[in-house]
């Protein structure tokens, strides 16, 4: 890795200040994406500002209509939580391996917006709200492209608020090598309608309107069995062509609905 200054933030304000003062600073949460990137010399930063000392950003709290998960909450904590929707806990439990789940954080995952990451499917599929030091951003507005989000420079995710679904399920077809999602589908029946979010298949997590309306009328795996997404613009690589990914979206959507019960 290239040399950088390591700084430990004592509070959210301190982190904002340190990030603002750095010429090319970045935040460190669980380090599960950032550290490998640095080690492989794929990125170089003047400063790495470690958030892990900010206790306020960690933890899970349930309130009336949903649950708020702090940005620094580890995947393992979400997986073990009885307060989060079961589908979200199951999703977190399927991320990486125990080491990754015990280091990696919700905030780091969605800030990074890897097209194959699992969490974006739940954030979009549950219509969550991403809270930052500056504002609250609706999930539909948060993920904007390949490794792109609505976050501005220097903006820090503090938590994510998930509304409680009536029913929800997640089905993931893992990439055989990385075990990230080659295709992951999150299907949820919310108070105000059905949401179906797909990760892994495209450059950015996306919703499938046709499946949502089919499921609104008939919440069953059969309802989505005949609905396929277009392969145009989907990811294509060694592990799966766009056509195969498009096919898997339907298969995983069926399984997500079946898992939701």
């Amino acid at each position: 890795m290239y040399n950088f200054n390591y700084q430990r933030a004592s509070s959210l304000d301190d982190a904002v200040a340190k990030l603002g003062a750095a010429s090319d600073g970045t935040l460190l949460a669980g380090g599960q994406t950032l550290i490998p990137t640095l080690k492989q010399r794929l990125a170089s930063h003047s400063d790495v500002i470690d958030l892990s000392g900010i206790g306020d950003l960690r933890g899970i709290s349930a309130d009336g209509g949903g649950v708020t998960v702090g940005a620094l909450t580890r995947h393992a904590e979400v997986a073990a939580s009885a307060d989060v929707p079961a589908a979200l806990a199951a999703l977190a439990d399927g991320i990486g391996d125990p080491q990754v789940r015990n280091c990696g954080t919700l905030g780091g995952s969605i800030a990074n917006a890897d097209p194959a990451a699992d969490y974006p499917a739940a954030v979009l599929g549950l219509g969550a709200t991403v809270n930052t030091n500056l504002r609250s951003i609706a999930a539909d507005d948060f993920f904007t492209g390949l490794f792109e989000t609505a976050l501005n420079d220097g903006e820090i995710i503090t938590s994510v608020t998930f509304p409680t679904p009536q029913k929800a399920g997640y089905a993931k077809f893992p990439n055989p090598a990385s075990r990230y999602a080659m295709v992951g589908v999150f299907a949820a029946q919310m108070g105000d309608g059905v949401r179906v979010a797909v990760t892994g298949a495209g450059p950015c997590v996306f919703r499938v309107a046709e499946m949502e309306s089919a499921l609104a009328g008939n919440w069953s795996a059969d309802a989505v069995a005949g609905i396929s997404v277009s392969a145009d613009g989907l990811n294509s690589d060694l592990h799966g062509s766009a056509e195969y990914r498009a096919h898997l979206v339907t298969v995983m959507a069926k399984r997500a609905v079946a898992a939701a019960g």
């Binding site: 040399n3 077809f173 055989p176 090598a177 060694l238 592990h239 062509s241 195969y244």
Partner: protein
Amino acid sequence: MAENGIGASLKRKEDPRLLLGKGSYVDDINRPGQAYAAFVRSPHAHANIKSINSTAAAAAPGVVAIFTGDDMAADEVGPLICGWAISSKDGSPMNMPHHTCLAQGKVTYVGDHVAIVIADTQEQAKDAAELVEVDYEELSAVVGTADADAAGAPQLHENAPNNTCFDWHLADNKADVDAAFAGAAHVTKLDILNNRLVPNAMEPRAAVGDYERSTDSLTLYTTSQNPHVARLVLSAFFGIAPEHKLRVVAPDVGGGFGSKIYVYSEETACLWAARKIDRAVKWTADRAESFVSDAHGRDHVTTVELALDGDAKFLAMRCSTKANLGGYMSLFSSAVPTYMYATLLAGQYTTPQIYAEVKTVFTNTTPVDAYRGAGRPEATYALERVVEAAARELNIDPAELRRRNLIQPDQFPYETPVVHTYDCGDYGASLDKAIEIADYAGFAARRDQSKAGGKLRGIGFSNYIEACGIAPSAAVGALGGGVGLWEAAQVRFNPTGNVTVFTGTHAHGQGHETAFAQVVADQLGVPVENVEVVHGDTDKGPFGMGTYGSRSIAVGGSAIVKAGEKIIAKGRKIAAHLLEAAEDDIEFTDGNFTVAGTDKALNIGEVAFAAYVPHNYPEGVEPGLDESAFYDPLNFSFPSGTHICEVEVDPDTGTVEIVNYTAVDDFGTLINPMIVAGQVHGGIVQGVGQALTEGAAYDPDSGQLVNGSFMDYTMPRADNVPSFNIDTTETPSPLNPLGVKGCGEAGAIAAPAAVMNAITDALGTENIDMPATPEKVWRAAQAAG
């Protein structure tokens, strides 16, 4: 049997050390004042080097020295060699390209070595390496095995027209074999690929070159499977230092699988540079470097044809293969696709005539060499796929077709039409046992059950044979090998009665420290914990040929037994003197020299003490109890067996689940059944990896390795395999003193064919190549309907 001797499933002595982090790997070794090396590597698959400017790099913090190919040439460092000469069909010698340690003028694959940068710290060396400016003239690249020799393909080496190294056949018998095909009742033909594998030993390669000014001698600490061979090559061919001024130490090594047989550029450059700068030079590969610089394995394109008569007896076989050598010839790259491959095509069968031809080609890819099984997995895959396909075409049960063609137990020694003479075996016994364990009879019902659940179930056989215990030196020499393949051992009783055993083999996961100690404990009657096995240091113990080709117990173990016999013979003389008996009256059992028919006895420990404190000692006998032996095997050994794989395919996603895997192997005598089971497990998993998940993928245009990290290169994992059902049959080899055959490679040899035969059975099509990834399986399932 002595307690914990031959046949005991003793826990491995080395494991507590290795598992508790107490091992000493090359990266754990640090020499005073050591500097660190980083390599400038080619980012291009094929390019001419117009110039190298290291001015900026040399000025970077901490930089000690930067050397290029020209600097090594000025010191007359010899080119990297291939140690096995093969001739083409027309008698012409193979076209071995000039392969300098660091490139001179040209690079032929991504990762090829351009310069070594040495600095005070590893990070400084890496930083500076990025500052070396290399002006490349990019050339178009060829990476595919099939098209490497096509007209108009980019040419890699001037002395290898059409990128061809050699166009070889095992024997000039094509006309006879063609005639047999012409008279056949049935011919089955398959076009198959044997995918290219990245070895991915857990420990990356590493080296510390160290120069000792006072003696003008060099030491190389290196991740080697064969430190003595490394010393020989570094000395005799590369000219780094004469053998008596060079020590090579291979301490704990974390897996090799063949990839640590060879002597590579990095290790050579570190050693050479240590003398240049008069400081130790250390290099440890990171995983990305390992992917592009460790010799890869396999990479064949093959057409195989089997001719059968009206009774489904095999009449003849034709096998035509193109094998990819990569950018240059690695150390044994010519032997692997020829004599390690074509000579195994008879398998377990009585096929009377076989024609095998192999063309090797250069491509802009990482060099290819031996990888666990080395040639034998490729042979087994071609043969067992075509046999299974023939059974399906003829609508004969695949087990029955095999049974009809097996060499029978009373036919040994059995001379095959492809060089080898098998010593012993009972192939039917393994087949029968495997069929029973796998509940083959119940398969049809299980298939129906899967079908009811929307899944496709298939079962596949693999009856493999391998030539291990390599190898009789004269035979190797006659086939073009540049070395002898005997092994050496030294058994040293220490004065207090414990034993130090030196072996020329090297363990990097095989458990020699335990298995060899069991052999010695068994033979000499000393407790196994009093036997220490020492290997991996050319300054300790005798010259030896190292570990590969499942040779260590059959050849190295036999050498130990021979040395032990000398210990007993000498001990008998000493005991006879002390017991005041005739030498002929002394019997040796369970560690005691006894005067026959009496209770007068001396333990071997007491005899050893007398040998070192020879106050009362036989005349004319030398003091000490320390004997050496060299053992040159009489033949290869031929482990064999039957593996049966059962899979369930999800046609919706193409996912393959191995639901049942049975392996019945004949390794001859088992020294430590638990270690053998571990070797079988690991081998099967590697074979499953080849069949289902692994395969180096090169971009056909840029020549970049697309899956050069674990994020994209799919190693098999625990959840890719079931709990295995393994068992053995035992026909001890009559040709070595232990009756052993070797077990290290069997799983990797047998498994790919078993898995693919199961998948093709489930899908009802032969048209799928390894690795059978979900998308490929899904597409094949679609196509097969």
